[in-house]
């Protein structure tokens, strides 16, 4: 029951994204503030509503089209991928550039590092973020240190690892996890998580073209659920720049990916109680944009961080510590963290485990009333 409620709640939010009412325009107005970054000569001729997997698919088409040295591969990628993100790529660009790999994550990432080290854009898919751990050594000890250890003689900056992450309502232990914090402890890689179709396309293109290895986690719950107008053409959104997606004055909420939609709902509810929340999408977790969060907390005096991953050692702890360092005298309450529990990601108990809207609402109220 609670699970389906959560899903409906997400749906209602998504539909708001697609509506043309003032709320959406505000959101979009903010989120497109940086859009002119990539191509001043381009005007956005056509914005069609598409879901998140289609936006990813568009980005991959553009990446392959604009760079003959770009490759897309991973388990089941050839026929379009289990989430359909790679649909049509093999047909259009051929099986030499878009192909299945053996079922072996360390092989996929190792192969991708080698390919990237030769000046290619290696776009590797890990089918679920839950299965990225066999590749952990390749990411942590190899990709992240490739440039540093060779004194910049070699680099694998063309490497982008895409992996669907997060809750999906029925994923249990191994189709639900949010492993971003493990990777945020690794100097040399970037970690990026988009919140919506438009963001996914613009950020993914930036990641693919960034001269550093990037782990790009895609919110799989939103693959089909999130629908948004997305410019058809090539555009990029900047990395390491957070975005204020809702302005407010009483408390700052920081999150990323799918969790932002839950946070957005909490903001709406809190507003009914007269609490004005400022919501920030961090987008890039490392290297992260402390300045935007700092400026917001200096304005509101309060901070809440939320993520699906377990609270202990989660990236929320890093944000909390950094903001306490920077804004100690301005803070009017302890930093609140509303996160997953310190259990394995459960199946039946998923609605209990998750940082839900009302858990967040309670935390907002107690922080504001501290």
């Amino acid at each position: 029951m609670a699970s389906s409620l959560r899903r409906i709640a997400r749906l209602s939010l998504i539909s708001r994204y697609t509506s043309t009412d003032g709320r959406w325009n505000t959101l979009r107005g903010l989120s497109t503030a940086t859009d002119d970054l990539n191509s001043p000569n381009q005007c956005w001729t056509s914005n069609k509503p598409v879901n998140l997997f289609s936006a990813i698919n568009q980005a991959l088409h553009i990446a392959l089209e604009t760079d003959p040295r770009a490759y897309v591969f991973g388990e089941d990628v050839g026929f379009g991928g289990v989430f359909r993100c790679t649909t049509g790529l093999a047909d259009r660009f051929g099986k030499r550039r878009v192909f299945n790999t053996p079922l072996c994550e360390q092989g996929i990432v190792g192969f991708a590092i080698g390919l990237a080290a030769m000046g290619n854009r290696a776009i590797a898919e890990i089918q679920f973020a839950d299965y990225i751990f066999p590749a952990f050594d390749q990411i942590v000890n190899e990709a992240a240190k490739f440039r540093y250890r060779s004194g910049n003689q070699f680099n694998c900056g063309g490497l982008t690892i895409r992996a669907p992450y997060g809750a999906v309502g029925h994923g249990g232990h191994y189709h639900s996890q949010s492993p971003e914090a493990f990777f945020c402890h690794v100097p040399g890689i970037k970690v990026v998580i988009p919140r919506s179709p438009q963001q996914a396309k613009g950020l993914l293109l930036s990641c693919i073209r960034d001269p550093n290895p990037v782990v790009f986690f895609e919110p799989k719950w939103l693959y089909r659920l999130a629908v948004e107008e997305v410019p058809e053409q090539d555009f990029m959104l900047p990395l390491s720049e957070a975005e204020v997606i809702r302005e407010g004055s009483d408390i700052t909420l920081v999150g990323w990916g799918a969790q932002l939609s839950i946070m957005e709902q909490a903001c709406v509810e809190a507003e009914k109680d007269g609490i004005s929340c400022e919501l920030i999408d961090l987008k890039t977790l490392i290297p992260w944009d402390k300045e935007t969060v700092e400026a917001s907390v200096n304005k509101t005096g309060r901070l809440l961080v939320s993520h699906e991953a377990p609270i202990t050692g989660g990236f929320g702890a890093e944000i909390s510590a950094s903001i306490v360092e920077r804004c100690f005298l301005r803070l009017e309450a302890p930093v609140a963290r509303v996160c997953g529990l310190d259990t394995p990601f459960p199946l039946v108990f998923e609605p209990f485990y998750l940082p839900t809207k009302n858990k967040m609402l309670d935390a907002i109220k107690s922080t504001v009333n501290y």
């Binding site: 030499r96 790999t101 192969f111 030769m118 050594d137 190899e142 250890r149 060779s150």
Partner: protein, 477 residues
């Protein structure tokens, strides 16, 4: 024949089965059918019977389950014609026999060698001719590697460098492999292959710069000694984790393949490395992607203190190739001419057939694993001594070179004196050279310095001003 059938894809299998009565093909052909007129590009006479099939059968034209094995009569040893199943990868025959495949071959796979222990070429042995100039350069390089190892090892013992690791006993593998390759071939090293760099022109001073972590070290003083890298010499950075380079090799090679380069990747590992998951990943990816990688396993008997008897079962490393559909060969890693010939031939196959090959070179780690190890604690002295003297690769190669009249004792004495002086000079120079400046701590983590690193650098510099005594004086600020 049976081996070949098992490793071949269906189409090739059918081809052989249909033509087996007239295909001049047997195990001996498969191993080495070469001769002294070995210079022409398409010299693999033994491949003639299938080369057309092989060349036409490239990865991207493969294979959908149902399309294969149409209506081709299939027989097997048991005579059950036409009893089979169309299965992805090719038709499989049925048999009423419940036969388990043996866990290992009846006989161990033999080891290809050219020179006997006294440095005489074995009658009838087939090998790549080596001219005087190459042979002498190879021998001189081995001597240089040996002297560099001895003096650098000593420098570590004196506390002048923090760590060292010798290639002692594996000089032939290092140098003969390098000699059989071209400079365009890309090396993904493990860590006991500095001889490749030496052969390619990396100077003794450059080795010393790395080991001493000077400002001239290409790695900017960031890695432990012996973790060399040189873009100029197509030599990827050594990284301590074992076997991580193997799946990367498949990716590098795939790039060469896509660029139609006349070059291959040579990826090294030790016997211990074959137990890593990345060994499996690397070989399987290279096989499936048909990537031109020459996998070179230096089976030196020991992974630090773990003997190969505690590392794997079956017949060592060479037999693992077939499981991946990778052609493989076992060679005497202490026989310079065998290494040279096998690598020469393997390289040709890897590049022109666009598929990986696995080479297992039997050798022995005469030195300790590293300066942090004392191998006399776990293996008998007389075993080490035997490989250091009677089985040492340089002694028998020297005999062969001298017997050809290409080298004399006087030249040997003179060379050793010169190299010794050069190595000592390089060490002295490196010892005097300043360290890389502090900014190199922060650069190259990313392509440019992110804000957090800018802050941390600033903060560290302020700390240094307050507590200069806490930090090494030889690092320029």
């Amino acid at each position: 024949m049976a081996i070949w059938v098992a490793r071949s894809r269906n189409i090739i299998t059918q081809y052989f089965l249909k033509t087996k009565n007239n295909c001049p093909f047997d195990q001996n052909y498969f191993l080495f059918h070469t001769n002294s007129s070995y210079k022409s590009r398409n010299r693999f006479g033994f491949l003639d019977c299938q080369s057309a099939t092989f060349m036409a059968f490239r990865r991207f034209e493969s294979v959908r389950a149902g399309e294969q094995a149409e209506a081709v009569a299939y027989g097997n040893e048991d005579g059950h014609e036409n009893q089979g199943i169309d299965f992805p990868g090719g038709r499989v025959a049925f048999t009423p026999q419940m036969k388990f495949i043996s866990e290992s071959t009846d006989k161990r796979i033999p080891c290809y060698r050219v020179l006997d222990d006294d440095g005489y070429s074995i009658p009838g042995s087939i090998f790549e001719q080596v001219d005087k100039e190459t042979a002498v350069k190879m021998y001189k390089s081995m001597v240089t590697l040996q002297i560099m190892d001895t003096i650098f090892h000593e420098a570590q013992r004196q506390g002048r460098i923090s760590f060292y690791l010798t290639s002692t006993g594996e000089e032939a593998i290092n140098i003969a492999t390098a000699a059989a390759l071209t400079p365009d071939d890309i090396i993904l090293p493990q860590y006991r292959e500095p001889g490749i760099l030496l052969w390619r022109g990396f100077t003794l001073q450059e080795f010393a710069n790395q080991c001493f972590g000077t400002k001239d070290d290409y790695g900017k003083g960031r890695q432990m000694p012996i973790h060399y890298s040189s873009k100029e010499h197509n030599y990827f950075a050594v990284s301590s984790p074992i076997a991580t380079q193997l799946p990367q090799a498949a990716g590098v090679a795939y790039s060469l393949k896509m660029d139609n380069k006349e070059a291959c990747v040579v990826a090294f590992m030790g016997d211990g490395g074959t137990s890593e998951g990345d060994f499996h990943a690397g070989l399987n990816f290279a096989a499936v992607m048909e990537a031109p990688v020459l996998f070179f396993c230096r089976n030196n008997g020991w992974a630090i203190s773990t003997p190969i008897s505690e590392q794997f079962r079956s017949d060592g490393v060479v037999v693992k190739g077939q499981g991946y559909g990778i052609r493989s060969i076992r060679i005497d890693g202490n026989d310079t001419l065998a290494v040279y010939s096998a690598i020469h031939a393997a390289r040709e196959m890897v590049i022109h057939e666009q598929k990986p090959i696995l080479v297992e070179a039997l050798t022995y780690r005469v030195g300790h694993h590293s300066t942090s190890d004392d191998s006399t604690k776990y293996r008998p002295m007389d075993e080490i001594e035997h490989w250091k003297t009677a089985r040492h690769p340089m002694s028998k190669f020297r005999k062969w070179v001298q017997r050809n009249g290409w080298w004399t004792d006087d030249e040997e004495t003179e060379l050793r004196g010169i190299i010794r002086k050069q190595v000592l000079n390089a060490i002295q120079m490196a010892d005097k050279t300043e360290k890389p400046s502090l900014d190199n701590l922060f650069t190259d983590v990313y392509d440019c310095l992110p804000l957090n690193l800018q802050e941390q650098e600033k903060s560290l510099r302020e700390t240094i001003k307050r507590h200069q005594q806490d930090f090494p004086a030889d690092v320029p600020l």
